[in-house]
Symmetry: C2
Subunit: 286 residues, 2 copies
Amino acid sequence: MPAAAPPAAYRARPIGVFDSGVGGLTVLHELLVQLPHEDFVYLGDTARFPYGERSASELERFCVEIAEELLARSVKLLVVACNTATSAALPALRRRMMETTLGVDVLAVVRPEAVGAVAATRSGRIGLLATPATVESGAYAEALAAVDPHVTLVPVACPDLAPIIQSGFPFDDDVVETVRGYVAPLRAAQVDTVILGCTHYPLIRPMLQRMLGRGVEIVTSGAALARQVQHALSARELGNPRTEGEGDYRFLCTGDVDAFRASGTRFLQLPLGDVEHVALPAGAAA
Amino acid sequence: MPAAAPPAAYRARPIGVFDSGVGGLTVLHELLVQLPHEDFVYLGDTARFPYGERSASELERFCVEIAEELLARSVKLLVVACNTATSAALPALRRRMMETTLGVDVLAVVRPEAVGAVAATRSGRIGLLATPATVESGAYAEALAAVDPHVTLVPVACPDLAPIIQSGFPFDDDVVETVRGYVAPLRAAQVDTVILGCTHYPLIRPMLQRMLGRGVEIVTSGAALARQVQHALSARELGNPRTEGEGDYRFLCTGDVDAFRASGTRFLQLPLGDVEHVALPAGAAA
């Protein structure tokens, strides 16, 4: 006998999404466009940004703290929109969330992009643009091998790309030349699909598409993850029962609220609305 | 016997694109992404913006002046990225351009979107968001009827939308409510395809997609036109002979160069580069 569907009040709960900063807002952007009936609450751990240099045990602790905060706000599903957190803390996070009364699923970046890239490629040659830490972690290579061991990954570490994008539009000729340098090995390797393995990169997607040529498919974390979130909602019968209008979305951040709002709008590409400060770990000084 | 292909030097010429202001840059954006090997020169007639209240004979004169300016800069193809100019001046413009030695084709908005929408719709119910002037002109209704007389058009005049978008990001709750008001009749009519009949509107595409729901296909002038430009280049054997790297693009404007640069970057979503002032009619005071 199949389990009863969760009650409407439970299905009406928001989906929690988090990242170390504003990059994950490009993931939230896709979720908002693809799943307009759902409510979302996004947490940016900007006070402890960037996560790149943190130890694995520190990251586990941060992620569990964030998960607790989002659980306290009654999320029905948790989305990790951060590559570093996914690599370091996903197993710990999944264990913690399965201990909750109803068992909250944790979805994360990396595997969805691997699935999307394998589905998109015809030549089997897939490029990856990511931070040095993400490339070194081998997370995408592993995820791709698990999905299809016969594709070839061409990874390019882009040390300057996330900082350039973080620092803001408009981009000058130096930026174009820097990006061109990262794209060159992908062109040389004749990949037909490119994973953007950092949530900042969708902001320069038009420039990348132009340099790669229109025959190359670009796979973003947001688009790939939105599909898996949809599958999870429908498998668990967790879709929001709303029948009219769009859902709400709101923001929490651990650092400066005004700074979050200023750069957040550029990453979300939708009106930002309310941003609330939260202290993590709970009870810490603001 | 087929005509000989044009010489490489002719094929290496830029494509001319023009609009009354910066809105046409959303069309150029798509052309740059879809046709990365081509060179472009864009003219924004910002000194005489907006075109909405101009008479048809005035608009014919403006468009021919712009076309002469772009011909003097050796364009091989002319793209009218302006709804008002297309409605008022396309026949006159085509006559003038066919008088040139080699016969320069003129492509324009409206018909490509009609083709794109008819190709996309399954229900045959197509929505249109456009300025009051464009809706009243009946240009989209006519173009759709010519492509497929059995589709139904649901036009919505949006008097406030272009000014809101022109005035800049970020958008507040009032903007969201205004946009929601324009989308409501399209939702009520259950259209499955929506034409953005104004080149400003792609800047709020994510918001529109979210309000319409992901099952609704949005057709923009830029995407639809890029395909037809590609067909024209290949039918005329006019594709740029470049084999490596992307083409150049540059900008002319009849008004203030700094103002063009400031809002232009937001509409192009790519680095803007050089903007040169031109006086129109040729020889007029700056």
